[in-house]
Amino acid sequence: MALLRLIAIRLLTTAITLAGVAVIVFFVIRVVPGNPIAMMLPPGATEADIARLSALYGLDKPMITQFGIWLAGVVQGDFGTSITTRQPVLGLVLGRLPATLELSIMALVIAVLLGGVSALIGTRGRGGRTEGAIDVANGMALSVPDFLWGLVLMLLFGVLFPVFHISGRVTPSLDLPFVTDFYLFESLLRLRFDLWADLVAHMFMPALALAIPLAAIIGQLLKQSLKETMNLDYITLARTKGYGETHVILREALRNAVLPTLTLVGVQFTFLIGGTVIIERLFSYEGLGNMAIDAVINRDLPLIQGIVILFAVIFTAVNLIVDLLYAVLNPRLRHA
């Protein structure tokens, strides 16, 4: 019962947050100078043409009315029509979403692996040079944002030692038999490992760039947590039973040390997702973030709204999942 109450409260605060986001973005972008209609039409368009198209998109009405119309549409699942492509916003946005999700999740997996391994190695060799070296590496990785890592990686592995691709999601000449936009996932399901390899070769650099700062945070936090846990009484007791250091770290300490790391990682993951905007641009990756930048440049108001709302929904969903995960993993909370 307590769990249900918790969920209800979370949903309420989430709704308020999303409402706030919707309001802010709606009114902010309408203050944007530059008429999207005028930008779309060929030069030589008459005032009448512009007025007609503006009316078509409802841009001539007062702002409050526009908001009301938009809100009514949203409730029915209609997020308006993109000004630049004349297609429904919802379709466009959902079409690009899988690409960004796959990139973010790949980055998360890389970050967890890198960070986890560095934390375990640092704990095993704690107090010595190993830990010192790992601390220095983590410090550097943390201080530099994903944008710069992206550029560094691009130079190293795209130009100097060209192992990976630095542009796009997939080699354009390839024939793609996919039905969904989850290319990476589907290629595995269909056992098309050639396609999967091509996708990974394109995704690895941007995913790694996104992952590096998060890996450093995970590494530092988990190591700290593990080191503290290793001093506890139940660890000492486990040692008397004949277990070796590695076993003790992995089987006894890890599960308890992971918990405090989890909530911070959740928040940092949302920052990672936010980072996809510039990383996708950098690597010309056809995802949500890249589309967002174009939308702003072209003043495509409905599209901008749709994308921002979607990002906000993703962020709140991630936070919710993290809190649920925490409750599940912590036996104490489950019975509270």
């Binding site: 706030g20 973005v25 410090g139 710069l148 980072g275 905007v277 973030g289 921002v308 990002f311 962020f315």
Partner: protein
């Protein structure tokens, strides 16, 4: 051992930032060439140690024949200006709001906290691009954008600190002694929160530089003629195979600057930490 490392970190980062500051100030005098001067016959010259380099253009030239080194020096001016202005202002705004929210609590805290939640639901880069689109390109817009987007960084942390400090005994004593709420906040709590604020400030400066670079990269910063590191990186990115130096050198400058700001913060934090002292 920790002390020594903290000292080294502090010196190295302060050293680079100091050199950068000097370079930025003295750019008009020490830059070998006019950063805006184009010479199409000297386009895409490599740096001085490579074959085919043009003497006098130490780090090479870009596609329009402009000297990379001079552009980097002048780009430093933009970077540092943004860092100092945007960093300080967002610090003032965010820290003040955070202090008030965390110390005074009540409905003020509720409003600020809700605001912070909403703010954090926006992807920062997207938010800044949006704001620049609204405000139009220009240095002032960048500074405003950084402040508007990142004040939450200060507000959250300072609020938490202020809350925990506010619960401590010395605050109760001050109130009993007759100090007003605001007075207590400023005279008693603020000095204890100050170290955290200073560390965040250096971090924010690094972030401001990055935001400016990203904005330039997406062609939304200042006018396209004046050199910015981000603009150079954007150019360099498109010609990455033909003239790598146009990308690499501003990247190195940016990398070292951001790293230095961050390590400066870490080094200061170590100095301030009473446990390590």
């Amino acid at each position: 051992m920790i002390r020594r490392r903290a000292g080294l970190r502090l010196w190295l980062s302060a050293g680079w930032l100091g050199a950068l500051g000097a370079a930025a100030l003295l750019a008009p005098w020490i830059a070998p060439h006019d950063p805006l001067a184009q010479d199409l016959f000297l386009g895409r010259m490599p740096p001085f140690w490579e074959a085919g380099a043009e003497p006098g253009y130490w780090l090479g030239t870009d596609s329009l024949g402009r000297d990379v080194l001079s552009r980097i020096l002048f780009g430093a001016r933009v970077a540092l200006l943004v860092a100092l202005a945007a960093g300080t202002i967002s610090c003032l705004v965010g820290a003040t709001l955070g202090l008030l929210a965390g110390f005074l609590r009540g409905w003020f805290d509720m409003v600020i906290s809700r605001l912070i939640d909403i703010w954090m639901a926006f992807p920062p880069v997207l938010f800044s691009i949006l704001l620049i689109a609204v405000l139009g390109p220009g240095l002032v817009s960048i500074i405003i954008a950084v402040v508007v987007i990142d004040w939450t960084r200060f507000a959250r942390v300072v609020r938490a600190e202020a809350m925990s400090q506010g619960a401590m005994d010395y605050v109760a004593s001050a109130r009993l002694a007759g100090r007003g709420r605001i007075g207590t906040m400023i005279r008693e709590v603020l000095p204890n929160v100050l170290p955290t604020i200073v560390v965040l400030l250096t971090l924010e400066m690094g972030i401001a530089v990055i935001v400016e670079a990203i904005m330039s990269f997406v062609n939304l910063s200042i006018s396209t003629d004046d050199p910015t590191w981000g603009g150079m990186i954007s150019e360099g990115r498109s010609a990455i195979h033909q003239s790598w130096w146009v990308l690499v050198f501003p990247l190195i400058a940016l990398f070292l600057t951001v790293l230095s700001f961050s390590q400066l913060g870490e080094g200061l934090k170590d100095r301030f930490d009473p446990v390590l002292r």
